[in-house]
């Protein structure tokens, strides 16, 4: 086990490196999933296999079950031998134990180990694990316990989040159930690391719909074993509603559950650290949550945190078996915003006249209207504060919306804060005429304030502004850019056929190309090539016919046949021609 240990050490070191950011369970069986699972398992069963799945599956989830005849018992006992497959031995042992009947553990063990060395599949190994868990503890089950480690090595890591066998989730779930069952039975911790347990959990409980009874059964078994075993208990921390606090709701409520959403209250929940996301300052440390009913509570607003997001590091203790008991939670602190020091002014461009400032208080509207034209700019300044703490706020959305009452046009600007967190907005008609399309008129000014951490987003009609643009740019009509009118139709351009030379040219050329043929015939006649030596021996005729047929076959191939058919015919014709030709040429040679 030396090299194996070294491999384990290297593996766990790598895991430590990779898992420096601790794994968080992402899937579990919520109450809804449990109900669905039970519904599948409680369907009436039609054969022994289905009966096994239903009975054992439901009892894993904590639900109840039946008795059995002598012949069946004999049949089951006979199945435990080296001649049956691992699956048969498994079902037999499982059924016998399930019904409380005695069986010979040593025999079963030797049959199992013998069969396992022959059947190397993952499922067979898993079934061996579970079968061993039914056998007496007197038998030496250590060789089978070692199989757990081997199986863990065969799991596929998917993205660092999931761990499953390539055979699928059903097999993975069965493995978890079998491994913990055997470990509980023998009393040794299974060779599965904490991170691996979380990854297995993620994989198994990612399946929310069950197509077959065996799938439902496997997930039920896994859920049962992960919520109730002697070594590893994954726990989940669930906030009550969104994890947000505010002055109206200052208490953060958490629930601690196992993978089956069963609530655990015999635990202690502690806040290790609460750090602000924006300023990275630690706001709170080492504070326990108080248990009230099923929930663990903490009043976060007692420390008067500024609004924003906070990273909570929470640890759950109470049992050495807990896994994933250190949790990171992002908590939002909301507040209400107030607008103060709102000043509306018209500033003269030439700076000759002092600006006229009007102060408005939210939510009133300024009396009278303001003008902005080529001589004057319109300016707006305001401050945003946290109503509860008085601190200055810089929300994400601070918009100034100008809405033309007649044409329905609206233009939105962003108000920027300066170094003292005072928001300013200035409207210069010459700079901004493109946004307005140079449409003069009376515009209503709205102030829009919003943010994820604000409980009271604001839409405030502040004032009316009369904007006048220089005359020469006034458009005749304001076209509302309607995006949803039919666009001009696109005519499909079919591919132009290739340009071919005019028929005259190609006909001339065809004649031209055939002319050497005439030349050839003339030359042959001149030379005196003759066919006087043509003997009418059968082989000669056959040869010439065969040859002609082959040429004909070429033509037919071009028009109709494919290569395979052609080759077939060619083989036949070629054979005949070859034989005939052979004979003919031999005769010629003899004559010569």
């Amino acid at each position: 086990a030396g090299p194996r240990l070294r491999l384990q050490a290297a593996f766990s070191f790598l895991l430590l490196l990779a898992g420096a950011q601790a794994l968080v369970p992402s899937h579990r069986l919520a109450a809804r999933d449990l109900a669905r699972l039970r519904a599948v398992l409680e369907r009436p069963f039609t054969d022994v296999r289905a009966a096994y799945f239903s009975i054992v599956g439901l009892s894993s989830l904590g639900v109840r079950v039946v008795t059995i005849s002598n012949e069946t018992r004999e049949l089951l006992l006979a199945a435990i031998s080296e001649d049956s497959s691992v699956t048969q031995i498994f079902h037999a042992v499982g059924a016998l134990s399930g019904f409380g009947l005695p069986l010979a553990s040593q025999e079963a063990l030797s049959a199992l180990t013998a069969r396992l060395s022959k059947e190397e599949s993952v499922l067979a190994t898993i079934q061996t694990l579970e079968t061993a868990s039914y056998l007496s503890q007197q038998a030496d089950l250590s060789s089978i316990v070692e199989e757990i480690e081997d199986l863990v090595a065969r799991l596929d890591d998917l993205g660092g989040v999931y761990l499953q066998f390539e055979e699928g989730i059903e097999t993975t779930a069965l493995f978890v159930a079998a491994a913990y069952k055997l470990s509980d039975h023998v009393g040794t911790e299974p060779a599965i690391k904490e991170d691996q347990v979380i990854q297995l959990m993620n994989a198994i409980f990612s399946k929310k719909n069950f197509e077959t009874l065996s799938e439902a059964f496997s997930v039920a078994r896994a859920a049962g074993s992960l919520s109730q075993n002697r070594f590893h208990l994954p726990i989940i921390v669930v906030p009550d509603g969104p994890a947000a606090v505010s002055h109206h709701q200052p208490v953060l409520r958490l629930q601690v559950t196992n993978v089956m959403s069963q609530i655990l209250t015999q635990v202690s929940v502690k806040l290790d650290q609460a750090k602000s996301v924006s300023s990275k300052a630690t706001v709170l440390q080492q504070l326990p949550f108080t248990l009230s009913g099923d929930f663990f509570e903490l009043n976060f607003m007692n420390v008067k945190p500024a609004s924003g997001y906070y990273d909570f590091s929470i640890s759950v203790d109470g049992d050495k078996r807990f896994i994933a008991n250190k949790v990171e939670l992002k908590v939002k602190v909301s507040t209400e915003v107030g607008i103060t020091n709102v000043d509306l002014s018209t500033v003269d461009k030439d700076q000759s006249i002092a600006p006229k400032t009007t102060r408005v208080a939210y939510p009133a509207k300024a009396k009278g209207s303001f003008t902005a034209d080529s001589h004057q700019n319109f300016a707006l300044s305001f401050q945003l504060i946290d109503v509860n703490s008085g601190a200055e706020l810089t929300p994400h959305q601070t918009f100034v919306r100008l809405h033309n009452q007649k044409t329905g046009q609206e233009v939105v600007f962003v108000a920027e804060p300066d170094s003292k967190n005072v928001y300013k907005f200035e409207l210069d008609t010459s700079e901004r005429k493109t946004e307005f399309d140079s449409a003069s008129g009376t515009y209503t000014l709205y102030l829009i304030i919003g943010d994820a951490t604000l409980e009271n987003p604001i839409l405030w009609n502040v004032a009316d502004v009369v904007i006048t643009f220089p005359e020469e740019d006034a458009p005749s009509t304001v076209q509302s850019k309607n995006l949803f009118v039919p666009k001009p139709e696109i005519q499909h351009l079919f591919r132009e056929p290739e340009k071919r030379p005019p028929t005259v040219v190609s006909n001339t050329f065809t004649a031209l190309v055939l002319s050497p043929l005439l030349l050839l015939l003339v030359l042959w006649i001149k030379i005196g090539a003759n066919i006087s030596n043509f003997s009418f021996a059968p082989s000669t005729i056959v040869f010439h016919m065969g040859h002609a047929a082959m040429l004909g076959l070429m033509y037919v191939y071009w028009t109709q046949l494919n290569m395979f058919q052609t080759l077939k015919y060619l083989a036949i014709l070629g054979g005949i021609t070859f034989l005939a030709g052979n004979r003919m040429l031999a005769q010629k040679a003899v004559k010569r």
Binding site: E498, K499, R500, P501, V505, F509, L512, V513, P516, L517, L519, L520, L523, W524, I527, G528, A529, N530, H547, M550, L551, M554, Y557, W558, T559, M563, T566, L570, G574, F578, G581, N582, L585, A586, K588, A589
Partner: protein, 110 residues
């Protein structure tokens, strides 16, 4: 070289055997046809390149088969170099090579 060409032509005209002359006439035909097709393709443009390929290839291969192989093997003056191959055998080889050539060409065309 002028001398070389002159010798070549004299030797050529001195040929008396019908077989060789007929074969030479055939070679001339193949050559002319190929050249004409090449000229046509150049003249009309590059559009018909895939159509032009089979004629050229066929012409070239035929030329090769006939001229180089058959002619050399049939010419009695070269008999010393081709001891084991009779003219009949050469002709049979020629036919076989032709068959395969035509098969390939038709496959390409069709």
């Amino acid at each position: 070289d002028e001398a070389c060409v002159a010798v070549f032509f004299r030797r050529f005209l001195a040929l008396q055997q019908h077989h060789l002359r007929a074969l030479d006439a055939f070679l001339l035909y193949v050559l002319l046809t190929g050249a004409l097709q090449f000229g046509y393709c150049l003249g009309v443009g590059r559009l018909c390149f895939p159509l032009w390929l089979p004629p050229v290839l066929t012409g070239g291969s035929l030329f090769l088969c006939s001229a180089v192989c058959l002619r050399i093997q049939i010419n009695p003056q070269n008999k010393s170099e081709f001891q084991g191959i009779s003219p009949e055998r050469a002709f049979a080889d020629f036919l076989f090579a032709n068959t395969i050539l035509h098969l390939v060409v038709i496959n390409f065309v069709g």
